[in-house]
């Protein structure tokens, strides 16, 4: 039998907001908003490095995770949470919040690191990633994790739910926005294109889909598997305002994600590198879900400390 003192009971405890972390995050948001461009990017870069270190630590400790995709999506998540989204970690169910959905739910460790940075729950809880009975499942669960909008994991689910959120805003004349991050490989799921077609039909200008275009899926490149190109043309043909940017440039991410809502949905194809930030992981297909050894972990942390 487990008692309250055992590590198992600690892992199973519900997640609650971390007031001190929320205060730090609010100060950071204020600084980002007020800072000149150069300083702003410095802050966001530092935030990304912190998140990548947390992800490495989380995955190394848990012995499972998807580090390659976590690192390709990190700068997108950091820009959204630290500079763009209208959210309040103290009120995760605030009706007017912007909705953020990570459709590529297997990159949960990166999402959890960003949510913890914002104080949705204490960073110390990242140590419970994937532990027995932990709320921090291998894929995000909205019923256990404040800040998670819908349960993702099977691919091709996030965009339809995001379209539903944006449709609700349109029907009820609310001004919140909806952002969804899609993996590029998951665009092979047809449900995305059902949703893309309908979002344009409704003119969902408050919807932004960001494609983490790291060009690798689980076992091979997207081009060797089921090629997505010409990807920007596909989104344009489906009626979306389409942008293509460097998904590791906080400046480019911030600029495009801060554009005002338009009359039609917006697609941002963010060109990224799987494993970004750790030289021996970058563009390596094996790092989709490989777990770093102790030596690799130490080397990676050292690279991220430079």
């Amino acid at each position: 039998m487990q008692t309250r003192e055992t590590p198992g009971a600690a892992a199973a405890a519900p997640l609650v907001a971390d007031a001190a972390a929320i205060a730090r995050w609010r100060a950071l948001r204020d600084e980002v908003a007020a800072a000149p461009a150069e300083r702003r990017m410095q802050i966001l870069r530092a935030s990304s490095t912190h998140v990548r270190r947390q992800v490495l630590h989380t995955i190394h400790a848990a012995g499972l995770g998807h580090v390659g995709g976590d690192f390709s999506v990190t700068d997108i998540l950091v820009t959204l949470f630290d500079a763009v989204l209208r959210i309040d970690p103290a009120r995760p169910d605030w009706a007017q919040r912007d909705r953020f959905i990570l459709s590529k739910g297997h990159c949960a460790a990166a999402l959890y690191a960003v949510l913890a940075s914002a104080g949705f729950f204490p960073e110390a809880r990242l140590a419970h990633f994937a532990a027995p009975l932990s709320p921090l499942n291998g894929h995000p669960n909205r019923r256990k994790i404040p800040g998670v909008e819908t349960n993702t994991g099977p691919l091709g689910h996030g965009l339809p739910v995001a379209v539903g959120c944006a449709t609700a805003a349109q029907i009820t004349h609310q001004d919140f926005r909806t952002f969804v991050v899609l993996g590029d490989g998951e665009l092979q799921e047809g449900s995305n294109w059902e949703a893309a077609m309908y979002a344009a039909q409704r003119g969902l200008g408050r919807l932004t889909a960001i494609v983490d275009r790291n060009r690798l899926q689980q076992g091979a490149s997207t081009s060797d598997t089921n090629d997505l190109e010409p990807l920007p043309d596909k989104w344009r043909a489906f009626g979306w305002e389409t942008h293509e940017i460097d998904g590791h440039s906080h400046a480019e991410l911030h600029a495009v994600l801060s554009l005002p809502a338009a009359g039609r949905p917006r697609a941002v194809i963010a060109n990224t590198i799987k494993g970004k930030g750790v030289s021996f992981m970058e563009n390596g297909v094996e790092w989709h879900h490989k777990v770093p050894s102790d030596a690799q972990y130490a080397a990676a942390i050292e690279e991220l400390s430079k």
Binding site: V163, I171, Y198
Partner: protein
Amino acid sequence: MSKEDTSAGFDCRQAFAEELAILAAADARVVAVCNDSVGSSNLGGFRKAFPERLVNVGIAEQNMVGVAAGLANAGLRPFVCAASPFLTGRALEQIKADVVYSGFPVVLCGMSPGMAYGELGPTHHSIEDLAWLRATGDLTVVVPADPQETRAAMRWALAADRPSFLRIGRTKVPAVSPEGLEFVPGRAVVLRPGRDVTLVAIGTMVARALDAAARLSAQGIDARVINAASVKPLDEATLLAAARETRGIVTVEEAVVHGGLGSAIAELLAERHPARMRLLGVTSLAPTGSTAFLFEHFGLTAENIARQAAELLDTL
């Protein structure tokens, strides 16, 4: 009564449409979501009354269910109205992940279920839905038997604020529910007392079970009839009492017997109070034929229900 008659009675979709309009008029959160099924789901009137609250995603069931989850995330209360075979078959993973696992208050309305589409064939029959959905997390599964129960189940589903599936029949049925019926999940309705044998039915089969009980009565067999509209959760107390108090149980459903109502009751009784059972339902993909023909083909008739019940008692 003629051997098979599916021309008389009520199409539950009519009551469904009327009740949806009543709920929508009283609650601004109510929206209808459909897949080009404005006609087949009888939503023409709803569209006229609440044009902004009809979300027609086109022929795209996966998107339809995902969109419904998103609408619920943002505070609305979607009733997803689509032909049951496509809602449950095409979008099963969305039902599982986006609605049930995510825990959103979406009311999934499987229209024209079972073999309502008769000659259109197995692609358009929804006979697997109960088995699939019984296995899907914390989802309430309801098969109303008539217009009154359809309305009661809808009122409950909106108030319950949780994931639910309602099977909304197209095949005409007589009114069988007692006056003032309220739907309560996990509560079955005993429509007829009886001491010898119990007939447990859902949906279109409830009226046939009542008819079978009348036939059995003429043979001196006293049959209890239970409408088990709440397929999940089951009314365990009422069913265990039937197993204790009568000498056998016959289940009848317009669905595959493997995984549906009959299976659910057999699972309950096997563990808690083993009883003699006959499980009547659909046993294979259907050949070509009208709904009435297919009911005969699979033995889903009052005559066969009565025969099976009598045989079950004879074998004791």
